[in-house]
């Protein structure tokens, strides 16, 4: 119970910090929209081919916007060693992780909504028929991706060239989350009647849960000196 309370306190603190400078959300959304724009404009695809590229474009956008946000998430913590300030308090390290994860998840979700909205517009594609499945895939994919981003962000904060380090750690490990999510998204958009999309959702969820639990359990060692 206490850990849930702490998680909420940290999440609200991150929202407040973000509200003051609005740096993270704005840069994530702008970056995401730019990626959708680049691909949409550059590929110049026929409407039938659009459906093939859309899942890739969306998840590439989510992935890059995410990395941008995860880097920012620990910028405010690093500035005056605030992360240490939190570890001075009698709270569980996993509650700190969960609070930071929730904030990362929230910011990325907002950016994703913006990207989806823009993509629907430019691709002239209706998300509505497959919305339920897409939301599920996006949720599970984003959860695992953000969990890895949170722990790697905390690790990269201890290095030179932090931004590079986070990217180098994040992409090989999160590779299958992104690939499986793309695949499942493509299935959902195609409206596969064989129920394959459900299997896709389960795979994304499974991989994400494994990484989320592992990050949650290992986070205490990241704070330890």
């Amino acid at each position: 119970m206490r850990s849930l309370e702490v998680l909420w306190i940290i999440f609200r603190k991150d929202l407040r910090v973000e509200w003051r400078n609005r740096e993270t959300l704005v840069s994530m959304c702008v970056f995401g929209v730019l990626i959708v724009f680049l691909f949409n404009f550059g590929l110049q695809l026929a409407p039938t081919e659009m459906l093939l590229s859309l899942p890739v474009v969306l998840w590439a956008g989510f992935a890059f916007a995410g990395v941008l946000g995860f880097n920012r998430a620990f910028a405010s913590e690093r500035e005056n060693s605030c992360l240490e300030g939190m570890t001075l308090a009698p709270i569980d390290p996993s509650a700190i992780f969960a609070g930071k994860l929730l904030a990362n998840l929230f910011f990325l979700a907002v950016a994703e909504v913006v990207m989806v909205f823009i993509a629907a517009l430019w691709y002239n594609f209706s998300f509505l028929p497959s919305l339920g499945q897409f939301v599920l895939i996006a949720f599970w994919g984003t959860l695992g991706y953000a969990a890895l981003g949170t722990i790697f962000g905390a690790i990269a904060a201890n290095t030179r060239m932090r931004e590079v380090m986070l990217t180098v750690l994040q992409f090989p490990v999160a590779f299958w989350i992104l690939m499986l999510a793309m695949d499942a998204t493509a299935q959902a958009f195609r409206g596969n009647p064989n129920g394959d999309a459900t299997a896709g959702v389960l795979r994304v969820a499974g991989v994400s849960i494994v990484f989320t639990v592992a990050s949650l359990l290992l986070f205490e060692y990241v704070l330890e000196e």
Binding site: L148, T159, V168, F175, R203, V210, A214, S215, E224
Partner: protein, 232 residues
């Protein structure tokens, strides 16, 4: 360990083993029917891949030991293994296209095992980059161990996910269950060659470990020297 099994003996054993392996690769193993002579790179390629994978398994266990026991040795083993394992993994990525070009007609395709090896190679790079970019010495070993553990979990997930992926590649040839059909002489050659690679791997590993320990001793001596001179 050094007394019972000195490095020079280890090196001699490695060389001898490689001679036997080379003999078997080129003279003992039968020529493969469709691929011909070029298939013999298989006895270099596959053992390299298995050794690279063994390397990450060692990193995983060394990382776990470090997180539990905070043993300096475990941390050093993980670091040394990463450097040596990376070399073998690079070897796989070089021999792979060399084999693929004459057989498949292309240098590269996102075949399951190529993808796995490439991801493993990226993990090695990420791990080694982290090692060299860390600025907080108090946390360095912990952070590397965490990445070592997550990295290995990722390797396992790779193996599962590649089966879920839009599969079009051949099923596993070796140990792929009954009927996977490999000539017993080929299997023997492969195993002997793998033994030679492992022997080399552990030779390089212990030498790298000894080097690391000598480095840290030297640093400690320098520091004590600096302290002694500043006191006078």
């Amino acid at each position: 360990m050094d007394k019972k099994f000195p490095p020079t003996v280890h090196l001699a054993l490695t060389l001898a083993w490689f001679l036997v392996a080379l003999h078997m690769i080129f003279l003992y193993a039968p020529e493969e029917m469709t691929m011909g002579e070029v298939q013999r790179i298989f006895y270099i390629h596959v053992p390299s891949a298995w050794t690279a994978l063994t390397g990450f398994i060692i990193i995983f266990f060394a990382s776990l030991v470090y997180l539990r026991k905070k043993s300096r040795l475990a941390d050093q083993v993980a670091h040394a293994t990463a450097e040596v394992g990376f070399i073998f993994c690079t070897g796989v990525l070089i021999t792979g296209p060399l084999w693929a070009k004459p057989v498949w007609g292309i240098w590269w395709t996102w075949d399951a095992r190529l993808t796995l090896t490439f991801l493993l190679w990226l993990l090695y790079i990420a791990y080694l980059m982290l090692r060299s970019y860390l600025i907080n010495p108090g946390r360095a070993a912990n952070l590397c161990a965490v990445v070592g553990v997550i990295g290995f979990i990722d390797v396992i997930i790779d193996y599962m996910a590649i089966r879920w992926w839009r599969t079009q590649h051949p099923q596993p040839v070796i140990l792929g269950g009954p009927g996977s059909g490999i000539d017993p002489r080929m299997l023997a050659t492969l195993l002997v060659s793998w033994g030679a690679f492992l022997c080399l791997f552990f030779y390089l590993l212990r030498q790298r470990l000894a080097l690391g320990q000598a480095q840290s001793e030297l640093r400690e001596m320098r520091r004590n020297l600096a302290l002694a001179s500043s006191e006078n």
